[in-house]
Each structure stands twice: as C-alpha cells, then as structure tokens.
C-alpha cells in the first residue's frame, strides 16, 4: 500500500465528500469525527513521505491506471501517456502547508460555523476544497492541474457566499468566481499552446523537449498571469479585500492557503515547466523575468500595506496585509530567479540567490501559519462583537485570554519580531536581497515596520481598553475544537521560530533544490 500514497492523499477527501449525504444524516458529531480523522490521516501520510522524499531526495511517481504505477513512462515509449502524479520535495512542501492549514481550520470551524442543516454542505465543500488543493500540489499534468484548480475555485466561491443572509456575501462569491474563471481560461489557453507544439500535457516531458520558441513565451505569459491573478498579486488584487472580508473566518484562511498553493504552482511552472532544459537553444531571459517578479512583489508589499493602514474593517485590513505579505515571497523568489541563469556560472546564485529563494519559500510556509492564525482570531473578534468595524470593538483582552495571546503571537510574527517565525524568513530575505540591491531590502524593512504599526492599531483598539460587556453579542466560551485549532497554529509558529534550522534543512532547502535543479 505504501506506493499508493500519492493517489490516497487526493482520493481520501474525495470519498469522504461523496459520502457526505450519508454521513451528514447520521448526526453532526459522527460527521465531524470522520472529517477530522480523514484530515489527520492525510497529515500522517504526508509526514510519512518526509524521510524518503525530503531527506533522501527521492522522487515518487504515480501513473494512473498503468500496470506499473511507480514508473514515469510505460516500456517502449519515451513519453507518458497517462496522468502522472509526482511527489518531489517542493510539492511535498506545498502539501504539508495544505494539510496543516486544513486540519487547524476545520478544527476551528467546528465551533464557529453554526450547526444547522447547511453545515453538511459546508463540510462537503470544505473536503472538496482540500482535495483540490492537494491535487494542485501533487499533479504533474497541466490539464489535471486545471481540473483541480477549478475544483478549488468553485468550492471557494460557494464557501465565500456561505452566509447568504449577509447583504454582500453572494456578490463577493460572484467576484471570486469571475476572477477565477478568467484566470482558468487564460491558463487553459497557455496549456493549449504547449499542447500544440509538443503533443503532451506532462510538465516534466514538456520541459525535457522544450524548444524555448516564441510560442513558449506566449504560453508562459498566459500561465504566469493566470497564476498571479489567482494568488492576488498587485495589478490583479482588487478582488482580495472583498472576498476575504465577506467569507467566514475559516474560509478566509482556506483562501489564503489556496493563494499560497497557487503561488507555489507559479514558481513550479517558472522553473519545472519553462525552466532551462537540455535541448533548448534560445533560453528564456531569466533576469527580465526576475525583475518583473521583483517589481510585482515590491508593488504588492507597498500598496498592500498602505491600503491596510487606512482600513477600519478588521478583515479588510488583514486581507490587504495578505497582499502585502505575498509581495515578500515574490521579492525573495524574484531575486532568486533574476540571478538564476546569470552568465557567471551560478556564482551569484550560490552566493545569495539560493538564500533569497529559501527565504521566499520559507516565508510562504510561515505566512500560511500566522496569517491563518490572524484570520481565525479575527473570526473570534467578529463573532464576539457582531461587527467587523474596529471602532465597535474594545476590551476583548479582559474576556478572552487565549485569543489575546494568540493574536499577539500572530501580530508579532507578521511584523517580523523575534523569536517568532516571521523573523527568520524575513531575515533571510533582507540579508540576501541586500546583497542584490540595498534599496529593495530597505523598502522591505520599511513595509515591515508599517505592518507592525497597523497591527498595533488593531491590538490597541480591540483588545485593550475598558471592559465593555454591553458590546458583546455572542458571549459563549470557545469550544474545544476552536481552541485546539488556535493553539496548534500558535505552537507551530513558536516552534518554527525557535528552531528554524530544522525546518529549513529538512523541508525548505530540499524543496528549493528540487525546484531549481536543471535537468
């Protein structure tokens, strides 16, 4: 059974979702138990793969329906004819993010989403969202990636509109699916151009025969634009505040995870699909591409944080911070891309480019953890006061000690204060980007300071101040599941912050190596 792990990771949530009409009738306790078990099993399977894949650098293939599934191609032919799943260190890294985020988010949502008939639909869609994100992480087939992208975006849109009684929630869902559909149409166009030239959909095969023609660059434009649109980087970030603000708190966290996975996929397409291959003649100009990514990143950072400073709505504020944090990752990886194929034989890449990429990729993981924690605590705040407006919140620190502590942890982590995990990845980015271009590093630090200021505002206005029990709408204590979700994320933030070496050496460094290795 061990060599079937890749397909089990994707199909287990699918089965659980398909059986929801049955388990949903059997009572919500059983249903929650089943889902938590499935998500725990998923995490277990993912961590089972860590010794083989991340530490020893093996690559696991799974060919659907073939007589020998662990082979990449069938005997006698040089190209894969079936759908292939591929687990290398980078996709495992993506999968671990998804696994941890879905587990904690579902634990949180057991206590916060109202338990009624529609909750069954909620958990079905949640499981399908998980399956879509897992499929996006592990598939090695462009069209299959498209299918899973659609699964995640449709379930995301439906979940954004979950609270239909709110005035604007359906419109936010509409906006999300509109953007997603445009993005997936562009993506499919890029896939079609790749297929027209090489007659295949397999990422690894296309990369091995890539000719770096003009059409490839057009295809790359389409695919990168689509991915950036879904990830919410700056020119296409208009949908982010509306959707993140109107969705339930746990779904905002899931949308954030979806953005992270899309970003990872964008990096994977940049390197593994359109990266340098052995056969190609005219290479893609990596320096230009890197600078484009860097400019997008800096714009995202700056616009995101300046827009966040003036917000009075806690969720919109956090959504703009999500845009701003995306900028850090784009900056780190962009510096890596810019020096990736420089003419100095990879000296600059070894000197600081790889470190910048490690910083950027590490920041994806850290950001997924602390941003989720912040979104979840904002859910608690919204629930307590019945509003998202910061002017209507005061003195929550007197009531909810746990929420206060975890919000503090998340806010300090996002601002890059030691000893939390945001500090480690931001330090890596600052150091390496400073060697590339000092101005960029200074901008990044400035944005970090503004982030701290913005979160101090939130903390001061909602947690400090006199105790006002008359403003509290919902005073029931948090359930065990909600607390467990918050505590797990906070513990992960502190552990990653205290021992960054283990994570970087164990997961991040192999992931970057797998991403940038030249076939």
């Amino acid at each position: 059974m061990t060599n079937h792990i890749p397909v089990l990771i994707i199909t287990l949530p699918l089965i659980a979702a398909f059986l929801q009409p049955v388990t949903g009738f059997a009572g919500f306790k059983l249903r929650n138990l089943v889902i938590i078990t499935i998500l725990l099993v998923l995490n277990g399977l993912l961590f089972m793969l860590v010794p083989d894949v991340a530490l020893q650098g093996k690559t696991i293939y799974y060919t659907m329906g073939a007589s020998d599934p662990s082979q990449f191609t069938q005997p006698g032919i040089s190209f894969p004819v079936r759908i292939v799943l591929k687990i290398d260190s980078f996709s495992l890294f993506t999968g671990i993010i998804v696994g941890v985020v879905t587990l904690t988010t579902f634990l949180f949502s057991t206590g916060t989403v109202k338990e009624d008939k529609r909750k069954s639909y909620f958990s079905t869609l949640f499981l399908l969202f998980t399956a879509g994100l897992m499929g996006m992480s592990f598939t090695n087939d462009l069209f299959n990636f498209f299918v899973f992208l659609e699964i995640s975006s449709i379930s995301g849109a439906a979940l954004v509109a979950y609270r239909t009684y709110r005035k604007h929630a359906p419109y936010a869902g509409y906006k999300y699916i509109l953007i997603s559909t445009i993005a997936t149409t562009f993506f499919l166009f890029g896939v079609g151009i790749c297929y027209a030239q090489y007659g295949s959909f397999n990422i690894q095969y296309i990369n091995s025969v890539l000719a770096h023609s003009y059409l490839d660059k057009v295809a790359m434009l389409f695919i990168i634009v689509a991915m950036a649109m879904k990830a919410g980087s700056v020119p296409m970030h208009m949908w982010v505040p509306d959707t993140y603000a109107e969705a339930p708190a746990s779904i905002s966290a899931m949308l954030k995870a979806s953005g992270m996975v899309t970003l990872c996929a964008m990096f994977r397409f940049t390197f593994s699909l359109f990266g340098p291959s052995s056969s190609g003649a005219g290479k893609i100009n990596y320096e230009t591409l890197g600078w484009i990514v860097i400019v997008l990143g800096v714009l995202s950072m700056f616009i995101g944080v300046t827009m966040a400073l003036i917000q009075h709505d806690v969720r919109r504020l956090m959504a703009f911070h999500a845009v701003s944090q995306t900028g850090y990752m784009l900056l780190g990886v962009g510096v890596g891309i810019a020096v990736f194929a420089k003419g100095d034989g990879g000296a600059a890449f070894k000197a600081f480019g790889k470190m910048a990429m490690v910083g950027g990729i590490f920041h994806i993981m850290n950001n997924a953890f602390y941003k989720n924690l912040l979104f979840l605590t904002s859910g608690v705040m919204e629930r307590r006061f019945g509003t998202r407006n910061l002017n209507g919140m005061i003195g929550l620190g007197h009531r909810d000690t746990l929420t206060t502590v975890v919000f503090m942890i998340g806010a300090l982590a996002i601002a890059g204060i030691p000893p939390f995990n945001g500090f480690d990845s931001k330090l890596l980015i600052y150091e390496s980007v400073y060697k590339f271009s000092p101005v960029l590093a200074i901008i990044a630090m400035f944005v970090s300071v503004m982030t701290l200021a913005s979160f101090m505002k939130v903390f001061y206005s909602s947690f400090m101040g006199p105790r006002r029990d008359d403003l509290i709408v919902e005073g029931a204590p948090l359930t065990k599941g909600t607390k467990a979700g918050l505590i797990i994320l906070a513990a992960l933030i502190i552990l990653t912050g205290l021992f960054p070496g283990i994570i970087v050496d164990g997961i991040i460094e192999p992931a970057v190596t797998a991403l940038t290795q030249i076939r």
């Binding site: 005035k167 419109y171 509409y174 445009i182 499919l188 509306d242 509003t387």
Partner: protein
C-alpha cells in the same frame, strides 16, 4: 491565410469576451461573456485536433484499416471536460447572481459597489 482563419476567430472571440467583461455592468451579461471565452478555448482545442480527410476516432463502422485516418482524440476528451466545468461555473454564477439580486435588488455592478461598508 485561409487556414489560419480559425485561429484568428479564436483570438477574436477571446478578446471580445474579455473586453465585454471589462465594459459590461450587468451580472448576467458577464456570465455570457465568460461563456464566449470558454467557447473560444474549446474552438482552439478542436482546431488543434483537426486532420484533413479524417474520420472520428471510432472504429465501429469505420472504413477499412488501411485507408484509415483519424483526428486526434485527446483534445476532444479535454473539451468534453471543459464543457462540463463551464456548465458548472455558469450554473453557480447564475445562482450567485440570483441571490445577489434578491439581497440588493439590482444586477448593476455600479450600484453594488457598496461591498466595502461593513454590516
């Protein structure tokens, strides 16, 4: 030049649909625009699969094996998938538009701009 005409149609449809996404304000019309974009992608794939003087890739009642030429099968399978996904997206968007109309009393994007005001 005539043979490239199909590709020109594909690109024109895509540009048409994206332009109407930018300029139209009615939620239902946006759905129609996205459907046009999806049709353009479907046409693109079907164009890639075409071979002259070929039959559909079905052996039941096909001509004899020696003179058999068939069009490429996998783009057809893919656009089958894409059509179903497009149907799903369209249905969900229409439902969201209906509920938006019930909540706000309008389908005009300009009047729906008040998303940012909380509560």
């Amino acid at each position: 030049m005539l043979s490239i005409f199909l590709y020109v149609t594909v690109v024109s449809l895509l540009i048409l649909s994206i332009t109407s996404v930018i300029y139209k304000r009615n939620l239902i019309k946006l759905v129609i625009a996205l459907n046009i974009a999806e049709s353009s992608v479907n046409l693109f794939f079907i164009t890639l699969a075409y071979r002259p003087d070929s039959t559909a890739p079905i052996f039941t009642l096909a001509p004899a094996l020696q003179e058999l030429r068939m069009v490429l099968p996998s783009p057809q399978a893919l656009i089958l998938t894409n059509i179903v996904i497009g149907f799903a997206t369209t249905a969900l968007m229409l439902v969201l538009a209906v509920i938006t109309y019930k909540n706000n009393g309008t389908l005009d994007i300009r009047k729906l701009k008040g998303v940012e005001d909380h509560d």
